[in-house]
Symmetry: C2
């Protein structure tokens, strides 16, 4: 049984050893750049951790795990074009450093590369893994589409929002775990339980993101506080605040949503104060807790050996308590 | 043994029966739109024709054939964004009818969908077919990158150009044939011979495109004559003309390449006249003929039963003589 630190080291070694470059260099340089940007490599790590629950031979899952990492970075690359994001992990995004066309085409090549790496799984698992991966990849696109739609939609319900973050964020974490489990030899029941663990952790993870945007410690968070408030992003907090608000509060929210001041400080202060009045921080923490509990139940179903699941339990707990 | 007409009908029926729509509709509508735009469906047709050389059960190859069609349309969709093309088959392109973001994301979903359809091949062929398909898909991206690079490159050699069209156009035709052959039960030697047939037909096909742009019959061609000349596209004709030209002719070419007149008539007349003087039409026809002959040799190697290869022979011959 390997610790998370050992597994992350295996992933990072493999990422460093992989040669992303080939001809034409203009196609592959942005890929190498993207893959060297760092990040937590959480998806590839949990693929190997899931495999390790059922098998000591986690190297069988290494190439598929890297494939999932490449896929994740592909989605970031294309999302950054769509969102016109200028930086990612403190560095210029590919479409800024190069241009939109390069970012589109290199992203396409990354998606194909992801499939090539996934296909390096044990042959007896190929069909099932491909099926899980493709289904997940399509769902991630659907999640991104819902996310873009929500920007122009007047109202978004809480359940629509949870479904969007399930698709955009949770299913890939869930699929990473399931793919690792399949390669490790899990039963379908175990693999599906681990998938559920990933879904609930993923939803809780995204809700934590919403919380940190407003209530994070600016000295730790790494990004500016209030980014979601500035752009009126329909997060769990805003959706629940609109639901809980009395007329005065609702008018105030709607007023501030029409304002795009050069200095957003006052907008952030006012919106945060309504969030406080309407108790949405607690509501969000409550919802996170529910998903966290469901995640832990699913994890126990996925593997009954307590000393084996401790690493994933610890990871889940840390994700809930993270401050950035 | 099915005729080409029967096979095209099978493909078209399947495309019509396929429901491309799902939720969120904004993601899937552009896919349905793209897939209903028509086109010759040549790639899916030759997949089935190749399968039919070795098996009567061509339905085994139908979903993969549709997958290749979806992939081809995905490349057109993303290429149209990169080339800022406003129409495709007489209709507005997706990024014009919707917007760039929709075109990027729907294209991504189409690439994933293509893999899902490919994966519906017989399970014993899955690993090999995926490997052929992914390798080909990456090469198509490489070809598109070379094509974009050539626009800003001062000189492009004839061999660089042929390599670009091999990647951008020929490998997908070749892979369509090879995938059909594999499903039909061809030996590796036969499948590879059919791949070679596709490579040479593909290169000849693209050279014919270059010729038609200059020497096509405007009443038949469907597009305006001289499009490549207007935008200084480094086609086989231009590359060879620059090679064959004397100093006067070379200066004339280089002069016209700096000109972007509102009325391009004179530029087209002058460039065509240099093409005539330098004999590049014959040179291009000669090169086409070489690839055509190599294609026919490969086809004979792929299947020795003369009455079976007649349909692919006829298709190849028609592609060489096509006027649009």
């Amino acid at each position: 049984m390997k610790s998370r630190e050992e597994i992350i080291e295996i992933v990072q070694n493999e990422l460093t050893l992989t040669n992303w470059l080939s001809e034409p260099i203009d196609l592959y340089k942005p890929i190498a750049y993207t893959m060297s940007m760092g990040g937590k490599h959480i998806r590839s790590a949990i693929t190997l951790m899931a495999c390790n629950l059922y098998s000591d031979n986690i190297h069988l899952a290494l190439q598929p795990a890297i494939g999932i990492e490449v896929f994740h970075n592909f989605t970031l690359l294309h999302d950054d074009i769509m969102d016109k994001a200028e930086t990612r992990r403190g560095k210029p995004t590919v479409h800024v450093k190069w241009n939109d066309n390069t970012a589109i085409l290199s992203g396409d090549a990354m998606l194909i590369k992801a499939y090539q790496l996934l296909a390096k799984c044990p042959p007896e698992n190929l069909s099932e893994i491909l099926s899980v991966f493709s289904q997940t990849a399509i769902e991630v696109c659907e999640g991104q589409q819902y996310d873009m739609n929500f920007e122009h939609q007047d109202t978004v319900s809480e359940e629509e929002y949870i479904e969007m973050i399930r698709l955009k964020t949770a299913v890939l974490l869930a699929a990473s775990l399931k793919i690792g489990a399949i390669i490790g030899g899990a039963t379908p029941l175990q693999a599906n339980a681990l998938y559920d663990f990933g879904i609930h952790i993923g939803i809780a993870f995204q809700l934590q993101d919403d919380l940190l945007d407003v209530y994070g410690d600016p000295t730790i968070f790494g990004k500016k506080i209030g980014g979601d408030i500035i752009c009126n992003k329909k997060t769990f907090l805003l959706i629940r605040a609109l639901k809980n608000a009395n007329n005065t509060q609702r008018n105030k929210i709607q007023h501030w949503m029409t304002q795009h001041p050069d200095d957003p400080t006052e907008k952030i202060v006012q919106m945060t104060s309504i969030f406080n009045e309407t108790g949405v921080k607690q509501a969000c923490q409550q919802r996170m807790k529910e998903h966290y509990n469901k995640a832990l139940l699913a994890l126990n179903k996925a593997c009954e050996v307590e000393e084996k699941i401790v690493h994933l339990q610890k990871l889940a707990s840390e994700l809930m308590q993270r401050e950035k």
